[in-house]
Symmetry: C2
Subunit: 187 residues, 2 copies
DNA sequence: GGAAGGTAACTAACTAGTTGGTAATATCAA
DNA sequence: TTGATATTACCAACTAGTTAGTTACCTTCC
């Protein structure tokens, strides 16, 4: 086993993302993370301090990657919703982590309030046909983008077939982007 | 302490709903539930079997109450969204429990696939101006109804003020119902 | 030889679930 | 009604296993 500190740290963080995404903060097990990372448990404490801080680091990583990959295009919200949908389909851990954050540690993860403030200002300054307050508009569009992937399996099962097949997801994506367009453009 | 088996059971279930809603299945503590219910820990095992089954019972209760209180009016989805919003504002545990279910035990809670099937059929048989598939429409409207209450505090904080004040919630409710109307009615 | 990276074994605290026993209530014969 | 007995509700203390976090020691490489 070659010693390589940055690589070990990276393996731990990757394993932590997977474990926390699957089980949340309370359900995650440090031993499982160490095993999956092929690292010793104590390395986790050397690199990240404790479970809580490791959770925060995993959250920073996942949410940071998400906001880098899906920039908020405030003047084209329907396509923002579409890109957000594509990203969380490809990276389910992003959606799960943000749900864990909401339920377990609302304060974890990067603070991007300032960014949002600028985006909302930009939205407010232009004349929107929507007629809805910028914040409400943004929240609703984000809500649309995650609707399918956060729906209960019970509801999705009512249609028959696999709700997560590529074809079904493509159909929903189109419907969702169209819905966002209607919300944004008004009637 | 007067002995009253149904009352003890009810106290345990109520305490379980609160504990699971706050901490989820993995984070909940049986001892805390017993203490909050003013009952002995072993009563929990007498009445509910084990932690998992108690979680399922709490889920049944919360989701059952929700679907009783907010009947799915498939021919008036915007107001369905509005009533759903009102309910989860008044009963935050309903939203939190359904999130915990999604993350921790997707199979917990009542199975209502059959009900949804009938509702979707009813939607399909009528000519909708929406042009969107019934399932997508329903999922998107439900997504809209929960958007504000599942948004990150970070985003909501960008506006300044309390995002959960009665006034702010009323404003959002109106915007959300209007958005649902636009999605349902098409352009 | 010494600093940095890594490890196995350990510990103290916690947690789901159990047990052996007590008190209250119901049943019923006299 | 009464007193013995069975049943139900309840409880304090315990157990076996788990878990986050620590420590003392080893290995690698400059």
């Amino acid at each position: 086993m070659v010693q390589d500190s940055p690589a070990t740290r990276a393996r731990i963080l990757a394993a932590a993302v997977e474990e926390f995404s699957a089980h949340g903060l309370a359900g995650a097990r440090i031993d499982r993370i160490a095993e999956a990372a092929v690292a010793n448990k104590s390395s986790i404490y050397v690199y990240f301090g404790n479970k809580e801080k490791l959770f925060a680091a995993a959250m920073d990583r996942v949410i940071g990657d998400l906001s880098d990959a899906v920039p908020l295009t405030e003047h084209d919200l329907p396509n923002y919703a579409g890109r957000m949908f594509d990203y969380v389909v490809d990276h389910p851990e992003a959606l799960r982590m943000s749900m864990w954050r909401h339920l377990e540690r609302p304060s974890a993860g990067p603070v991007v309030t300032e960014l949002y403030e600028r985006k909302l200002e930009a939205m407010a300054s232009e004349a929107h046909p929507s007629g809805l307050p910028p914040m409400d508009l943004l929240v609703l569009v984000v809500g649309l983008s995650g609707a399918w992937l956060t729906s209960s399996r019970d509801l999705l099962a009512a249609e028959g077939g696999d709700p997560y097949s590529a074809e079904r997801l493509a159909t929903h994506r189109a419907a969702m982007v169209e819905a966002a367009r209607r919300v944004v453009d008004g009637v």
